[in-house]
Symmetry: D2
Subunit: 400 residues, 4 copies
């Protein structure tokens, strides 16, 4: 048992940390200004491209992707880097071409795509020249139960025809999102987990209709391409757009989930660290009734609790990454569920307290806290609400 | 000891409940449409005036104000009506001319204003023909400690000259907010609680500069006139604009607080009831893995906990109102602090769980939940963060 | 709506408060000494009889019982008196002949007993010359589900024959407990709630075998007669010992529950008040690192939270009592469940924190805290665990 | 980073696990019987010696002690073994001669004792032929602040004379506890952390008076020698009984704490695992309203939460052990405080829920749960209450 990072990871941690401190955090203000200057635009403002160019020049690019097409890091090696990007979730992940949902989509194409699919879509995604969306959740179904998915993918000759409605398709409001991976049912009569397939749908395919953007609390996340509701109305694509075999959609979705949860959780821990850093600075700067907030017992308790949570949950996420690297997704099931449940809510509490220490500034746009809060709050719903995972994890525990 | 409402209150409860159900809740959608149609406007869209006319015609007007100028209700009688307006905090309070900060401002003018001040400002406020803002909190000070207030109000001949910066001046982004009540220091060398005064500053006075709007979790609250940062740059007003004597500002602020907290807490309970009603409807409508959410143990537990919290805290707020009516603000100090702390956080939890039951819809604009959440979250900061009140209440408890 | 006690209640509050302060609390030490001097005895040591004589002489006797046989108080009037007895749960309730399970047993006899049963058993119980036990819970059944009860009561000629095993028969280890009320099934084939009956079994009936005492945490509660496991082995009693009709056992149990929960909850609030008083005294007396504990933020927060919980939950219990008095048990169902859930756990937290403030003394016998803790912890299990009630209350809430 | 145990540790885990399952858990009932048969005896009943002989024969002895005198394990290697012993805290630690306070006392003697002290006291302790007590806490002082210690150790010629009063001297009620390590002040005027010294006081030294046993939630822990209050009344011992130099007491205490906390926390995790195992068995065996408890959402949630807590906190304790092994006590300060705070309270919740699932059996002696609860509850007070550590950890976090 050894709790130290290997040399390569340690070196990357330092380089990414330095890059984020030197280039990304100072650019947050520029991002706000560029967004304010173009109030109706969806997609990344110019600062994003500048940061990406700089990061790529330094070799900090596609860090999330194992193997030769990416940085070649294991899940355990990438995890601490993902955490650092959580300090600036609007800017840092995209800077290193490590932003969801592109990361998951690239993994799917990398692991399950045909050579032609890779050439056509994976290559430009790895270049950062296009972006993508993942069309899974539906407005009329509890999508934590995959059998509820209503979108149909019907074979007609050499084509598939897609009919259905998706929402929370992150990024899809931006024209940069050129390609959508759509989950739907090819065979509603098959076994529970063989009904679904995934298929590639280019944005400009006839019948694809962007219905509206959704907001999260009051945020539209438009620099990320927002979150779209999309109607697929008899959308016809070539049969070779199917990813994997018919019926493999559920298995691909499961494979996509594991790394995604590690990434989400590590970024969330970074968000928590940033909130704690902001809390600390504020608690030292602010005085009431003759004492700094940092001298008050309740604030100290909050700082201590935050540190305890961040340390213990980081270890759990890192162990989960190690299990995924060594024994695989399936054997890490308990841990993957555990971190999905435990990390976002712990970080939510840390951010909530940082808000509280900031008073009115905390809920406003003068600090990143309220937007961080909205982000981490959504994680408790993404991929199914916590309660579904709690129930599933609990059932497994209670099996004698 | 008698837990039943008197006959007049019971009758008003039924009338207000019916009015809100019949006219206000169905108008929420209209409000959204009118706001969407005028994306840059600050202030109430047309639907508000229509609802006000209807309510006033039914005699449901200025319910909050005791005495002949208002509906003549005691705090205990008004409290359950305030709760009902919490079901639709954007529309219902304003419909009955019972919206903050106008209510508190009208109380101040009513209790401490000169006849001329009442004629000039209270009358149109009671008519609903203008609105107002309360300029108390400052960006650079922890305003839970009143001695931190930096805004100066200097006597110069027949005038006062005001210099300072305020924020979270609710409503002030709307041109309808014709009058500002500004808290500042007339004598920084006086005793701790005799340094401050309140003064009336008409919106169009030279030197009043609206700096910017503030947002709350991404919401700008522009139908309510938003929340402004305002610079007062050598703003000169006639001496007769002072409310009460020099040095009476702290006492007036304290007098304003008691009823305000009752109103806020009762509205918050109404928000909690609405969230629970939405949770209930959704839990019955939504099915996963073959069962409705209402059949799941965790959802039942949430509903039960919500009911327990709402019932016990409602009684505590009602008792606080009764104490204010019978023995006065000062004797109700423990209870006023207790409800300020306990109600918003309990309701926050209820709303958070209602969001969770709604999945993605819960954080979006498709339900009122996320905006209710932002509203109640802010209450934990308004008038000083919970922790200041907890500490003060705890100190009093520990005094032997 | 009126939150003040009526004159008679107010007067009794003051008399009971004075009696407990002057006579009961100082006698706790005597109780401990008398128990230590007779380490193997089950039942009340001499001090109990002395206190009873004094209380009875002052007319403070059978306060719990409405009507002419008791003090004639309503549930709402008795509730604040029950709270005061919670300050010393080992001594105060028994002093006023208001200790469970005798109170519930007397209510059952009073409301459902025949004249002969009243003469034989109710009269001496009201005199305090004997005590009683209630034999409901069974070791092999989840007794929150009444259909699980396995004890059989079979009619044979002019007799009933009882066979079964009960535990948690409070008081039954003491020979003073002359009469047991036993719940069992007279007709396992009847409707779910008509299978059970209650029957009077004198302690010395052949076939009644006291198996062993049970402990609660490490306490045997022997001054109260402990908690017994009892085997009923073909126990034959005259048919006239049945209480009410065959099949009425469930209904009688339900009727017994309502007042019992009010009593338990009010006493628990008194336990919470005492814990808070002890916490306060200790926090002022104890110094670390140059400050009293009462000056530390976390201790202040605990005191404030305790006050908030006690105030709001007391109102909820009082309202429940008022509902029981005015509209009856059934209409007060939501509230009766709510207080059963909410009060014990809140008081448990208060006591736990008082323990924490006392350090090692808190878990030892040097303060009453650890024993209070054990007592209130058990309340979360008595009459079915909290979770059964939460689920039931939640189901009712979610019914559209 | 590597989360797997080394081969030796893995082998010992399996052997200790097997030994505990095969020999220790089945002996718990024997322990209870032997205790019941000798109700007034203090000290280990015969079963303990039998288990020790068996364990020693298998080479499972003094596992806690690094170096040649013990099993030679690092903190990280011993930690998982300590966890297993937590399954049966009354029997398993003592079986392997790994029970507190002997472990800490042996470490002190091993690291700071003279050859003569080792020969006289360490050797028989390592043999298990005597036991020991640690006399630190005082009834009249908040001992989390070491300067509060009032016991005096005065040099007089070739002797030291000890005067003071200690309590919570675990084990000291048993005559087997032949030697006490006593902390007192040799120089009250020295620097804050140089005032204290530790000294060896044989049990039978004149002036040592065992005042009384203390109980923990009604438990006397007499098989472990209980917890004594001890008066030291002009107790004279030879000067060579001092451990280390005058003034080194605080430093020795600090050195003793680190490993002690690892041991306590790992055992606590084992207690949590046992509680979860009992909860699981009961939840599957018990049925209400036609379903097993294991099918109920709330019970599942509890099981899931328990698993999450146990997994994340175990990693934190293991990392703390690794830090102690690699960079030392001082560098592991944050982690040592973190586990002291986080582990006992998490395990307390797990045990509390296991009690709840067991109903009345949970608070009685029919399961080990209530006694486990009392044990883990005390850990939140031992070595200073959680709040002292939270405040200290928080202060460190808030240091910019």
């Amino acid at each position: 048992m050894d709790f130290s990072h290997d040399a390569r990871t340690q070196e990357l941690i330092e380089r990414v940390r330095t890059f984020v401190d030197d280039h990304v955090l100072p650019a947050e203000h520029t991002l706000d200004e560029q967004l304010a200057a173009a109030p109706d635009a969806w997609g990344a403002p110019p600062i994003v491209g500048e940061l990406q160019a700089k990061a790529r020049a330094e070799g900090l690019w596609n860090l999330f992707l194992p193997g030769a097409d990416g940085a070649g890091l294991s899940a355990l090696q990438y995890a601490p880097l993902a955490e650092i990007t959580g300090w600036s979730p609007r800017l840092a992940p995209v800077t290193f071409n490590c932003a969801a949902p592109d990361t998951g989509n690239m993994e799917v194409l990398h692991d399950f795509g045909t050579p032609a699919q890779k050439e056509r879509w994976l290559r430009p995604l790895l270049e950062g020249s296009i972006r993508s969306s993942f069309c899974m959740t539906e407005p009329d179904a509890a999508s934590s139960d995959a059998t509820n998915i209503a979108t149909r993918i019907r074979r007609e000759g050499d084509s598939y025809v897609i009919t259905g409605r998706k929402w929370w398709s992150t990024g899809a409001m931006s024209p940069a999102a050129q390609i959508f991976i759509v989950m739907g049912k090819t065979d509603p009569d098959a076994d529970r987990h063989r009904q679904q397939s995934m298929i590639l749908v280019p944005r400009d395919t006839p019948g694809v209709r962007i219905v509206r953007p959704l907001s999260v609390f009051g945020y539209d996340d438009r620099d990320h391409g927002g979150h779209a509701e999309i109607a697929f109305e008899d959308v016809r694509v070539p049969a070779e757009n199917l990813i994997g075999d018919e019926g493999s959609g559920f298995a691909i979705a499961q494979a996509r989930l594991g790394p995604g949860r590690i990434h989400h959780c590590m970024r969330a821990l970074g968000m928590g660290e940033r909130a704690l850093a902001l809390l600390t600075a504020r608690a030292n700067a602010r005085h009431t009734f003759g004492r700094s907030l940092a001298d008050q017992g309740v604030i100290r308790e909050w700082a201590a609790e935050a540190r305890i949570q961040l340390e213990s949950l980081r270890l759990l996420v890192l162990k989960t990454a190690w299990l995924m690297d060594t024994v695989g997704n399936r054997a890490a099931m308990t841990e993957i569920q555990a971190i999905k449940i435990a990390v976002p809510r712990a970080v939510q509490t840390i951010i909530d307290r940082a808000i509280q220490v900031h008073g009115g500034a905390g809920v406003s746009a003068d600090t990143p806290l309220a937007e961080l809060y909205a982000g981490v709050r959504s994680l408790r719903l993404a991929d199914g609400p916590d309660e579904v995972h709690l129930s599933s994890l609990g059932r497994a525990q209670l099996r004698l």
